[in-house]
């Protein structure tokens, strides 16, 4: 009887490992897919543009006040 229980446990562990490996693999594939990569790069670029040109956080605004007033279609205040 104990031997049967051990074999069932080992089968369950193997299945869990297989499932987790599969999920990890799919996640990695999805993350490294072209659309996700393009979206990540676009988001990062957009966030940097926002921080530099459109953020209303006073230290950032004050640091780039002149630059904002000297760039087309950038609202400062």
């Amino acid at each position: 009887m104990p031997a049967d229980i051990e074999s069932i446990n080992s089968i369950c562990e193997a299945q869990i490992m297989a499932i987790s490996t599969s999920v990890l693999h799919r996640t990695k594939e999805a993350t490294l897919s072209l659309p996700i990569q393009a979206a990540l790069i676009t988001s990062l670029s957009s966030l940097m543009i926002w921080t530099l040109y459109f953020s209303t956080y006073p230290p950032v605004h004050n640091a780039l006040h002149t630059t904002r007033h000297s760039t087309l279609a950038v609202a400062c205040h």
């Binding site: 990569q37 966030l47 640091a63």
Partner: protein, 371 residues
């Protein structure tokens, strides 16, 4: 023959109509008018630059200046343009200046900084100081101010950087992304991610260091200065009153009154010079020289559009004796641009990057071996 005559007549009429369409005859004046002159010329005005000297002359039908004229002026800013915003979106579509001024010679001059590009409207209502001297009339004048060239240059520079980054990124991630044994991501992906991570670090470092430096430099610059008054005259007193707290987009009323110290009677006809100075950079934003009315007053409403504190200074000249001077500070509350306007502009610049990214991916797949 008669038929040809009518054809020739119709042809001549058509040609004359076309010529008049392109080059109409000068229209004869049917009513008095207000003539506008600016210094510098409107095509050379720089938004948020030096003050523009605006001279208005009320003339009669024969183009001679009218005398003893009262001007009621309202200067409004260009209409709102959320799809192509200026740097002062709150100022768009608001009133910049309201001024009532008496002009004995029919000529009025003032100086005003134009905050943004676009078409300003100057509404002038002209009435006689002596009842019945002429019929009051109104006129709207257009003042078109061009955009600053440096804005186009900087925008082109920014778009160029975004396009270059987009094309290079697209080229790299558009290539082979096979993950080798022991690697988390393919080499091109790691390369692009590393580049953008370094760029993000550089941007955040620059922003934070600049913010610290600005903070260090600005300590002690914004000391509030109290109202000041120099009244060395024994006879006259200059009183300056009006809004000392306002916000961008709103008009702030300023009134100066000259009274006789001894009798307390208002003094009419005193020449008063009024100006407002931006305290951040010491730039003169508005200037006007006028005469006090029967109540000894001179009033105007102006908008402090840049959201920084200003000082309003008035000076009265006396025929004998020193110049009287009074001033007070006006605190101006800046208003953040609406979120949707900033998001629209962000979408333009992000759009430039996305299009370049797609172009880079397409180029790598279209010309995989040529580059």
């Amino acid at each position: 023959m008669g038929r040809y005559k009518y054809v020739a007549l119709a042809t001549v009429a058509t040609i004359v109509s076309i010529l008049l369409w392109f080059d109409p005859l000068p229209s004869l004046a049917t009513q008095p008018a207000v003539l506008l002159q600016t210094q510098p010329s409107l095509s050379q005005v720089i938004p948020d630059g030096e003050p523009v000297r605006i001279a208005l002359t009320a003339v009669d039908l024969r183009k001679y200046p009218l005398s003893n004229v009262r001007f009621q002026l309202q200067l409004t800013t260009p209409a709102k343009t959320p799809w192509f915003t200026s740097d002062f979106p709150i100022v768009e579509g608001t009133t910049l200046l309201e001024l009532i001024a008496d002009a004995p010679s029919g000529k009025l001059e003032f100086a005003q900084v134009m905050p943004i590009r676009g078409s300003y409207v100057l509404k002038a209502r002209v009435t006689p100081l002596v009842a019945g001297a002429f019929e009051p009339f109104e006129q709207s004048l257009q003042l078109s101010v061009p955009e600053r060239f440096v804005k186009y240059r900087n925008a082109a520079f920014l778009i160029g950087i975004l396009m270059l980054a987009g094309i290079v990124s697209g080229w790299i991630i558009g290539g082979d992304q096979a993950v080798r044994e022991g690697e988390v991501a393919s080499q091109p992906i790691r390369l692009v991610l590393s580049f953008f991570t370094m760029l993000a670090i550089a941007v955040l470092l620059f922003v934070n260091i600049s913010a610290e430096l600005n903070s260090a430099h600005s300590h002690g610059e914004m000391q509030p200065t109290p109202s000041a008054s120099e009244q060395p005259s024994q006879d006259l007193e200059l009183r300056l009153s009006g809004d000392q707290l306002t916000s961008v987009g709103q008009l702030a009323t300023q009134t100066v009154q000259v009274i006789n110290k001894k009798t307390g009677v208002p003094k009419a006809g005193v020449v008063v010079k009024a100006r407002s100075i931006a305290l951040e950079d010491g730039k003169q934003m508005f200037a006007y020289q006028g005469r006090t009315d029967d109540q000894g007053r001179l009033s105007w409403k102006e908008q402090f559009f840049d959201g920084s504190p200003h000082r309003v200074i008035v000076e009265a000249e006396q025929s004998i004796g020193p110049v009287l001077r009074a001033s007070h500070e006006v605190a101006v509350e800046g208003i953040e641009p609406p979120l949707y306007i900033r998001l629209i502009s962000l979408s333009y610049y992000t759009g430039a990057f996305v299009l370049s990214l797609l172009a880079g991916i397409w180029m790598h797949r279209r010309f995989p071996r040529t580059i």
